[in-house]
């Protein structure tokens, strides 16, 4: 610790010689000059003294007629002095620090995780419409408000969290297959049907059921009412509004068609590629060279690698590569087996996604037909699904019927 302080303040190694060298030292002490590492060599003394005290040595040296000789200088003040003429170096260092600090005030990267129905691009596009994009100031981002807006605009998002970490905005999304209730828990609402169907099961938690099992309902029919009549002795004396809450399952019909043309074009990739490299700064892209593409058909693939300082501190600069991949178009025709397999596969995948949503499939009468040009899968899927959703009620002030009109 003491060494560090000595280094910061700077010190010198001096050499003195002469008859009155001891006197010189004693005078130093009398004037409160601190001397250390005193050693004798070559009929004289070598010692260390701090830079501050060195300036006070001059009158003593005059008095004793000795001449202290500087052997070596140590410490920060001397090093700084050495760099005094390198102004550009110092300015560059300061500019680098300031720009790094400046960059860290802005948002440079948005990453979206947890999406499957929506793509990260959807979310980024939406955020851009809300004036949140790479390049804005970090303190302009209102995470709580954006979370609400995302929940409101993306129906299948159950939970979302926005977090600014370093120069990066992390959007965490959990998607759901059930519609989140947009109606708050404490406001009065009805349960309304989403599609037509036959009621198979009702699980009521709150509200007055308006339907029975086996009833046929249309779209937007009220299934459960949030209006509860208060009766005393068979006479309605008041109305209470509640937040209706129920699961209403119904048999619904879903029409499914999928047409695939028998003739199709397939891309056959040759191994020819052309690559180009470049840099980007914000939205500005710069490629080192633009290759001449001799390919008739080609795909281009762009990759971006953004630089970061550490962790989540992204910078608005990076490297981008672009690749041109050559391919040929080959015309082909599906055989009957191939096309049936293809159609069945897509249907199965579709059913799988439905089942993931909690929909039960009780009947599947999709049939595949072939004509000259197309293969068509067509038919109905009969499902059992939850068709109820909450809808806010406009509260009308209820007045007890009066006898005056009679």
């Amino acid at each position: 610790m003491q060494r560090l302080i000595k280094y910061l303040k700077g010190y010198l190694i001096l050499y003195i010689k002469g008859f009155s060298a001891e006197r010189f030292l004693n005078l130093c002490i009398n004037r409160d000059i601190f001397i250390w590492d005193l050693e004798s060599c070559d009929n004289g003394f070598r010692f260390k003294v701090s830079l501050k005290d060195f300036k006070r040595l001059r009158p003593i040296a005059k008095k004793t007629k000795t001449r202290p000789k500087i052997i070596k200088k140590y410490g920060l003040p001397f090093q700084l002095h050495r760099y005094k003429h390198r102004k550009a170096y110092a300015i560059g260092l300061i500019i680098a620090i300031v720009t790094l600090y400046g960059f860290s005030l802005f948002l440079w990267n948005i990453s979206v995780t947890g999406t499957s129905i929506y793509t990260p691009e959807n979310i980024i596009q939406f955020l851009k419409e809300e004036n949140v994009y790479a390049g804005i100031k970090k303190n302009k981002i209102n995470c709580a408000e954006l979370e609400k807006k995302i929940l409101y605009n993306f129906q299948d998002v159950a939970w979302v969290s926005l977090e600014v970490s370093g120069t990066r905005l992390i959007v965490n999304i959990i998607e759901t297959n059930e519609h989140p209730d947009l109606v708050k828990d404490d406001t009065a609402c009805d349960i309304v049907s989403l599609k037509p169907g036959i009621i198979t099961k009702i699980v009521t938690r709150k509200g007055t059921p308006m339907i029975k099992i086996g009833d046929v309902v249309k779209q937007d029919d009220v299934l459960l009412s949030g209006t509860v009549n208060i009766e005393t002795d068979g006479v309605i004396t008041g109305i209470k509004y509640v937040h209706a809450d129920a699961d209403v399952y119904a048999k619904t019909v879903l029409q499914y068609t999928n047409t695939v043309p028998l003739d199709y074009e397939q891309k056959v990739y040759s191994n020819k590629k052309t690559k180009t490299y470049g840099m980007f700064f914000g939205d500005y892209k710069l490629y080192l060279f633009h290759p001449k593409i001799k390919y008739k058909n080609y795909e281009s693939e762009a990759n971006i690698k953004q630089f970061k300082l550490w962790g989540d501190y992204y910078l608005p600069i990076g490297i981008n590569t672009k690749e041109y991949i050559d391919y040929d178009i080959v015309r082909k025709t599906y055989s009957e087996e191939e096309v049936t397999f293809l159609l069945n596969d897509t249907l199965n995948k579709y059913i799988e996604t439905l089942e993931k949503k909690g929909v039960q499939i009780i009947e599947n009468n999709v049939k595949i037909t072939l004509d000259n040009k197309n293969a068509i899968a067509k038919g109905n899927l009969i499902l059992i699904e939850n068709i109820g959703y909450a809808k806010e009620i406009e509260i009308i002030e209820w007045r007890p019927p009066t006898n005056e009109s009679n």
Partner: protein, 90 residues
């Protein structure tokens, strides 16, 4: 002058007061064979790597040895390191 000095000496001995406070006596702390800390002195009279002569109020003290180095040297304390062979009072 000699009388008052003697009186002070007697008094400090009687009262058990440390001599360095009243009399300005030199304190020499020797650590092992290689380190000496000297307090209450006037100054260096002679110094080379084999001999250090220190002037005090009550006469001189001479250290003899090898490779003497004064690690620090202030108004009231100095630290000497090196191989010590002899300490002489004169």
């Amino acid at each position: 002058m000699g009388k008052t000095k003697k009186k002070i000496k007697n008094l400090t001995q009687a009262l058990n007061i440390p001599q360095d406070v009243t009399n300005g006596a030199t304190i020499i702390t020797i650590v092992g064979k290689t380190e000496v800390i000297v307090e209450n002195y006037r100054g260096i009279i002679e110094y080379n790597d084999k001999k250090i002569k220190i002037g005090t109020r009550n006469g001189n003290i001479e250290f003899e040895g090898e490779r003497f180095l004064i690690e620090y040297y202030t108004d009231d304390e100095m630290k000497i390191s090196g191989k010590i062979c002899e300490i002489k009072y004169s």
